[in-house]
Symmetry: C2
Subunit: 309 residues, 2 copies
């Protein structure tokens, strides 16, 4: 194989109660990337469409991950990378994770698959470090494994893939405002009441149970975040209005995707997702803030190979 | 039916990371209780074996639950109750919950089953209030539903029954020391770092995933409590020694049952449980503290009906 083209999905991390440990992949939103072997022995970004990202190979997430992998697994060829961003960086939908996870999976294919999904996740986490300074796993693991994933622990890294009920669908709105990661971190409480923590972990338990048993009532009941969402929601204009509109239209629940500004809603079935889409759209259209929206199934396979040559 | 004899199981609540929301029922330890219709229209405790418990019908948990149920569902007969405690109150194995859950299930049978398991759990929670002042659900729900249960929320009460991997077994040691509930509550931190809470809820997610998927590695990896166990373990003599002995002998993990003093270990398979039993016994035998031990399968059906007449 000389060339591989992949689709790397957008991802929703945090997922209400599952702050810093849960994530899932989006089926119909993500980046398309092509990786091609060259004789030059260099790693090179040859094209970036759809976003203003660095061509510097140490600063671009995709090439940084590629270099890291070749450091561990030296080869006698180089790799040229073309990137077509399918959605905006800074949305809270794991844009850097899509680049990182896509690179990890694609390069692994070009190398004849020496690495496991867990190892690929670690390489992609390095990409997250290049992008935002810390080696977070929730988005990249969701993009690599697909479906819902739980980052059960970091040392050593343990990723649990959780089944996705068939009818589960996502609706998301990305208001075109900036939420700085630093601001989103700064508003978090350092300490929380033990009683709130218990409420939250009982909901994590409920959400995981609901996903395993495809029980949408338990999923809806457990998709609550009494700790991070109340602290962060004022960073996202009209968050409550969108969330209420989604729930009134029948969404299981809604919350902040990553650290925002995207707001996600989970729904049961396509009809419901369409209604929720319209209700959210309606709730935002007179706000003088541009926005984009998506509705999609959950991606259950992770990074997809589109073409090999 | 005029008379019913039931077995109501001991229960382990908290279960490491699952403080205040997880519990499971023990197959081979519990109370035997007989409930008999009488013409007197009174509720009466006629016999208590194995423990020093009140005969006053408002103070005895079993009769208090019975009275509460008859208040809601009046009948033209009375009920006589005989209680045979199979293990000591104050052990941390849900002794009052066994009485409360046993009464709820047995009386429901005598009344021709007007109540659902969730309603029975609420009646049994009233029994917990009589015994200890607060309407906690984790032990009584485990005794009524059997298996592992998650108290997903209290308002409204939501109980999730979680599958039990077939080979899962319990080993427990009850050192004959007193842990006052007040002391066990007083040592708890009021506030905890958000980062610790995240670690704990990722482990709750891992434990629930491990139970659904019968993945013993994930169960072992997730059975950790970095918040309550460190605060409480000094109330239980030689806790660390027992826990280390259990894990060295191959237990998945070990922790405090309820608020102690019983220490529980979960194991994979009977051989392993026997080894863990011996290792724990060995670790405690020169400590000049009397103790009792048990090893058992997990009870998956809840309160068992032994005889109907």
């Amino acid at each position: 194989m000389n060339q591989i083209k992949i689709f790397s999905p957008a991802t929703v991390a945090n997922v209400s109660c599952g702050f810093d440990c849960l994530g899932f992949a989006v089926n119909d939103l993500g980046d398309t990337m092509t990786f091609r072997k060259t004789s030059s022995k260099e790693v090179k970004i040859i094209d970036i469409k759809g976003a203003n990202l660095p061509y510097d190979v140490d600063k671009n997430v995709a090439s940084a991950v590629t270099l890291k992998m070749l450091e561990k697994y030296p080869v006698d060829f180089g790799i040229e990378i073309s990137i077509e961003k399918g959605y905006s960086p800074g949305s809270g939908l794991g844009s850097s994770a899509a680049s990182a996870a896509g690179a990890a999976v694609a390069v692994n294919e070009l190398l004849d698959k020496p690495f496991t999904p867990l190892e690929l996740t670690k390489f992609a986490m390095y990409g997250e470090k290049v992008a935002c300074g810390s080696e977070i796993a929730d988005n990249v693991a969701a993009a690599i494994y697909g479906g819902f994933i739980l980052v059960q622990q970091y040392e050593p890294l343990s990723i649990v893939k959780i089944p996705v009920p068939k009818e589960l669908m996502l609706v998301a709105i990305h208001p075109q405002v900036k939420v700085r990661t630093k601001d989103a971190r700064d508003v978090l409480p350092e300490n929380i009441p033990l009683t709130d923590a218990v409420t939250q972990w009982a909901n994590v338990g409920g959400l995981i149970s609901g996903l395993y048993s495809a029980n949408y009532d338990i999923i809806a009941n457990s998709l609550k975040d009494i700790i991070v969402e109340p602290a962060r929601k004022h960073l996202i204009p009209h968050f409550d209005k969108v969330k209420n509109a989604a729930i009134e239209a029948g969404a299981l629940s809604a919350g902040i995707s990553g650290s925002g500004p995207t707001i996600f809603a989970l729904c049961k079935g396509e009809e419901n997702a369409k209604n929720v889409f319209r209700a959210i759209e309606e709730s935002y259209k007179d706000k003088n803030i541009d926005f984009t929206m998506v509705y999609s199934k959950i991606n259950t396979q992770g990074v997809k190979i589109l073409e090999k040559k």
